[in-house]
Structure formats: C-alpha cells, structure tokens
C-alpha cells in the first residue's frame, strides 16, 4: 500500500528519468556492438526503477556510492548524459576525463557520487566511511551504497554491515538483487531465507521492495531514510529485480537463464508498469509517453554525435592528474 499520493508531476519526472536510462543504455549497447567502446560495459536494462526510486527519495547532499553497473545511477542523479557517455567512450568530456571507462562512468563529485567501483562489494566499507564522516561532522546526511546479490557473500559486506551497526552510522545499504551474480544463480550461493533476512544478523532493520515498481522502491527508501535520520543507525533494502540483458555487453544472458524466466520478467518491465499505473489514474496517454521517448531520443542522438566527435584526453597531461606539483 502506498502512503503517499504521488502528483502527476512527480510521476512524470520519474517516468522520464527511467526512459532516459533505458534509451541511454540502448545507445551504449549499440556503440558497444559497433566496437566503439574500449573495455567492458554493464547495462542497466530492467533495473531502472531501483536507481530512480532510491535516488529520487534522497536529498541532494546525500552521497551515492555506485558500482560497475552504474550508468543508471548517474542518469537518475542528474549527471549530464554527455559526461557519462563521454566517459564510456573514453573522451575528455567524460566524468573522469575518459580515463576510467564504463565501470566508473557515474562518478561526479558535484552530484555526490564520489565513487563507482568495479570490484564486487568494495563500495560498502567506503560507504561506511562516508557515514562515519557524516556522523563525525554531525551532518544529517546519508551515505547510500548500491550493490548486487553477488556482493552479499563477500567479506567486505560483512565487515561493513557490522561496523555500521555497531557505530550506528547513517548508511543506506541498497541491494539490487537481480538474481544472478554474473552466471551464478542466487539460489546456488545463498542458504539463508533471503538477503534481507541477513541484515538481522547485524541488528540492522531491513526492507524488501519489488524493485521493478518505482513507487514501492521510493516509498521503501523514504521509510528507511526516516529511520536512519532519526539517528538510529543504518538500514538495509533488498530490491528484487532482474537484468533484462546479460551481465556485461558481451553476454546475452541467455545460456544460463530459462526463456520462461526472462519472458516473465519482461512482462513486468518497470517502465511499462509505471506507465500502466499512470494511465489508470488518467495521468498519461500512450501518445504522451511516445512524445517523451521521442524527446529523449532526439536529445540522446545529439549527445552521441557530440561525444563521438569530441577528442580523447591528452595523455601527455596524465602526470598532472597524479601530482599537484609534478616532480
């Protein structure tokens, strides 16, 4: 049951964000297949509601720690798509001057995404450190960290959750449970009842949200944030979702997943789900949605063109990125 009455404006904003992510990723996928992207890329298809639902509920000053599947987090947070795509394509306009690539694309200090890490589980202890800094400075902000189901079996996860709980730090742990850690099904590596249940072994309150329902994710996040801002320590959200494509751009996600399973999740597409809800309320028509898609597509096509014709970073200048005063 939803507590909040969502305004048409709010819902349109979230729908547009999700469409932006989807169409952005479509272009990334195409560029990857065309061989224009150096290195791996991990696409966010199907998980849009998690990024948008969580990030919409955050304050501007809250910190987000992202992962290698982070393009969606960046777009949801309002990092310019040109900078994200620039990073993915290794251009100087990229968020990290094109030196990090796809797995670090959402990083933007200005948007409070100081880190997107490629190592599974490694963002969690860092988020705990950010939480400690917030507490130390007596700020009411929250460090939010995204991670997948594979991360929950790493030692870093364990140490991070324990410390956050003992020290009562303002950290929001968001598990994007897309059921597969690369090609490993969650049911082969988790004997516990659920990922959310695991939070209880640290004394952390936990919530489960259907990760394809952006409103449920938003509400759950708001509830968790209230608890954290009451100074009562961290909170944990498990968002159950599905990646519609493979693990990385090179993987089609088909050989280790059943056709029926994929089809079932495609029927629960997060963007379509929100559209249906909005239509039921009379907030949108099919034509209006189509119009949004066309607008976003036109914007993105321009971005792709601009980035492709922009220069790579001047590698001669690399030392200046390491030292303030080069030796």
């Amino acid at each position: 049951m939803l507590r909040e009455q969502f305004s048409r404006e709010k819902l349109l904003k979230m729908l547009r964000k999700m469409i932006e992510i989807r169409l952005f990723e479509e272009r990334v996928e195409r560029l990857y297949r065309e061989g224009k992207i150096i290195g791996p890329t991990h696409l966010y298809f199907g998980q849009e509601a998690v990024a948008v639902g969580v990030i919409e509920a955050l304050d501007k000053d809250d910190v987000v720690i992202s992962t290698y599947r982070g393009h969606g987090h960046g777009v949801a947070r309002g990092v310019p798509m040109k900078a994200i795509l620039g990073e993915i394509l290794g251009r100087a306009v990229g968020t990290c001057k094109g030196l990090g690539g796809s797995m670090h694309a959402p990083i933007s200090v200005e948007h409070n995404i100081p880190l997107a890490t490629a190592i599974v589980g490694s963002g969690l202890p860092i988020a705990v450190g950010v939480g400690l800094a917030f507490k130390y400075r007596e700020r009411r902000n929250v460090a939010t960290v995204f991670f997948g189901d594979g991360a929950v079996n790493t030692g870093a996860f364990h140490e991070a959750l324990n410390l956050a709980a003992v020290w009562k730090l303002p950290v929001l742990f968001v598990c994007e449970n897309n059921l597969y850690a690369m090609y490993t099904s969650l049911k082969n590596v988790l004997a516990a009842e659920s990922i959310a249940a695991r939070a209880s072994s640290y004394g952390i309150p936990s919530y489960v949200a259907f990760g394809n329902d952006v409103l449920e994710v938003y509400e759950t996040t708001s509830k968790a944030l209230e608890k954290i801002r009451d100074q009562s320590g961290p909170a944990f959200i498990e968002c159950r979702t599905y990646r519609q494509k493979g693990h990385g751009g090179y993987d089609f996600g088909t050989w280790y997943r059943a056709k029926e399973e994929i089809e079932e999740w495609m029927r629960r597409d997060p963007i379509n789900m929100l559209t249906e809800r909005m239509k039921a309320k009379g907030f949108i028509t099919d034509e209006e949605r189509k119009k949004i898609e066309e607008e976003v597509a036109a914007e993105l096509d321009k971005v792709v063109e601009e980035v492709l014709s922009s220069p790579f970073y001047d590698y001669e200048k690399l030392p200046s990125l390491v030292y303030a005063n080069p030796p």
Binding site: N153, T154, G155, A156, F157, H158, E159, N162, L163, A165, V166, K168, N188, V189, L190, A191, A192, E193, A197, R198, S200, S201, Y202, G203, I204, G233
Partner: protein, 347 residues
C-alpha cells in the same frame, strides 16, 4: 540461552557419572596446567601464553562430543580442548618450551597442534582458520568420510570477512562442521557490545541458513549436549551448526596484556563466582558422586603430576639452530645445505 546445570549445581538432565567425573578431571588438569604455563612465561621460560582460565567448560564440554576420528581446528586459547583430547601434558609443555621434543619443532609459538591427535595448529591472526576448516570439512564430505570438523574461534572473529565467507560456504554446501564461538566477552580489549549490535552471536547463523544456538559456556553439560547434537547432525550430512558458548576470560588476553586497563575488578569477580569447575563440583557433590576429600586429592595430584612433567620436559635440550632450515623442501637446494652446515658449526 541453553543451560542444564544451574549455578548451584542442580541439573535438568543427569549424565552418566563416569563421563562427568572424567570431564571434571580434565577441567581441573586444564586449569592447573594453564596456571603453570602462565608461571613459566613469567619465569622467562616460554615466549607467550594465552590463558584459558574460566573457559574450561566450553572447551572440555564441546571436545567430549567428538569421536576420535573427528578433526579439531582450534584457536590459540584451547588448552582445555587439548587436555580433553588426551594429548599428553608433556607434548603441550615441550611445545611451549620449543625444545627438541616439541612436536612442531618450534615452528610456531604458543599454539599447539599435532596430526596424531587430529588437531590442526591454530593461526595467530584472528579468523583466518575458519575458511580452512570449512574447506577441510568439504574435503571430508567429498571423500564420503563420516568424520566431522569442530572449529573454535572467539567473539572478535565474528566481525571478520573470513567468518562471513566461510560460514556462507558451509551453509550452501552443507559442510560437516560445528562452529564453536567461544564468546569470552573481549577481543583483546574490545567488549562484545562494541563488536556487534546484536544481542546474541548465534543469530548470525540465520544469515547462512543453518541453526545457531547460544549455550551457557560455564555449564559443561550444556556445552557437551549442544555440541553432541551438532556433531551428530553434521555426521548425518545435515550441515553445520553455530554454537555460541557464553563465557569469560578470567585472565589477560595473553601474557602481554594488562586487562585492568579496560575492565573492572567487580566484573571479573562476578564471573569468578560463576566458575565452571565449581559448578560441576557442586553438581557432583549434590549427587553424592564426589567428596571434598577426593577433590582435594585431585587438585594435589594434578599439581604434582604437572610439576614433575615440566621438570622432565625441561631436561630436553633446545632445538639445534640448523632446524630452522628444515621441513620446507623434500630435497633441499644447495644453498640451504650450505647454510645448514654453517649453522651447525655455530654450536
């Protein structure tokens, strides 16, 4: 928390007198030997000792639940387990003296282990032996052996990533292992309340999909019965159990620690009143299985036997210096052979 013997020695379940008397004897011997090792360290004869005073019930009770083919992966504070395993006292003393009769040839300090008794030497870093114990247990399962592993660690270990990865693995693959978390309230100077935000460490098993149980670690009968159930379950192929034995370390963390800097005397006194040996004795006296005369004699014999054993052990010569160059290569390379010759001339 699971308890069978009340602090006054009343029992909810009356075990076989022979078993109880045997456990009592081992607890007394472990206590006396532990105090001797402290003394030997203070006399400068051994390097370091991690005292087990107060934790005898947790060690002896759980070790009695094992079959003789089962494997022990201890922590460095498991003297009562070794005594219960019937390891000769001389082996333990020689180990600590690192002399020529030391079964580990001075290769490590303060920890005991011997394949003869299926005891794997404990590591000094906290929790790193848990993944090894799980791997070993999985190898037993793979070989279709009916042997079981018991793995001891402290409350501090539960905050380590190794603990998490190992217990998850054990749960997913149903390893034949019993985890015994000897919660003695302190990880060196860090109290449990600063270690975890949960009330009982046994709840951590929920995260791995197997049973966790907290027992009164100063109640040897509860420790024994809980471990016995867990060992039998593991042997039946039904996977691991996490046992939290709630107890207290009466002494310092090691001989290199001053606990008065981080805890009150009153707290120590409170736990002294819950002494596990006194509790079992009250029960034995209550059932008429034991008398104060016999008790006095047992403590005296233990003291005498151990003192004499130490005297004998001290007669063993030290390890020769060249021993440091042995045991790595089956066929030592030329430079080590040369070095060994050089070393042997140092004597």
């Amino acid at each position: 928390m699971y308890q069978v013997l009340s602090p006054e020695g009343f029992a909810e379940e009356e075990l076989d007198p022979r078993l109880l008397l045997s456990m009592y004897r081992d607890m007394v011997y472990a206590r006396v030997l532990d105090r001797w090792l402290m003394r030997l360290q203070r006399m400068g004869k051994i390097g370091i000792h991690a005292p087990s005073e107060g934790q005898e019930a947790a060690g002896v009770g759980t070790a009695y639940a094992l079959g003789e083919n089962d494997w022990i992966f201890p922590l460095y504070r498991e003297l009562p387990v070794f005594v219960a395993r019937k390891v000769p006292i001389s082996d333990i003393v020689n180990r600590n003296l690192s002399n020529r009769a030391d079964p580990l040839k001075g290769r490590d300090f303060a920890v005991y282990g011997d394949i003869k008794y299926r005891i794997v030497p404990a590591p000094i870093p906290v929790a790193v032996h848990i993944p090894s114990a799980v791997g070993f247990a999985l190898s037993l399962k793979y070989k279709k052996l009916s042997e079981v592993v018991i793995n001891y660690f402290g409350d501090g270990a539960t905050s380590k990533g190794d603990f998490h990865e190992a217990l998850n693995f054990a749960g997913v693959f149903k390893a034949p292992i019993v985890f015994v978390c000897v919660n003695n309230q302190y990880a060196i100077s860090v109290p449990v309340s600063r270690q975890t935000a949960v009330e009982r460490l046994s709840v951590k098993a929920v995260a791995y999909g197997f049973e966790g149980v907290s027992v009164d670690g100063n109640d040897v009968v509860a420790c024994y019965l809980a471990a016995k159930r867990a060992v039998e379950k593991a042997r039946r192929g039904e996977g691991p159990t996490l046992i939290e034995a709630v107890t207290y370390r009466i002494g310092p963390h090691t001989t290199a620690d001053d606990p008065s800097r981080y805890r009150d005397d009153e707290e120590v006194e409170m736990w002294r009143r819950r002494d596990p040996i006194t509790r079992l004795r009250s029960h034995l006296l209550r059932r008429g299985l034991w008398s104060m005369d016999e008790d006095e004699k047992l403590w005296q014999t233990a003291e005498e036997t151990i003192r004499k054993t130490i005297e004998e052990c001290e007669k063993n010569p030290p390890l020769p210096p060249e021993s440091i160059l042995e045991d790595v290569y089956a066929t030592p390379p030329w430079h080590l052979i040369e070095e060994r010759e050089e070393f042997s001339q140092l004597r």
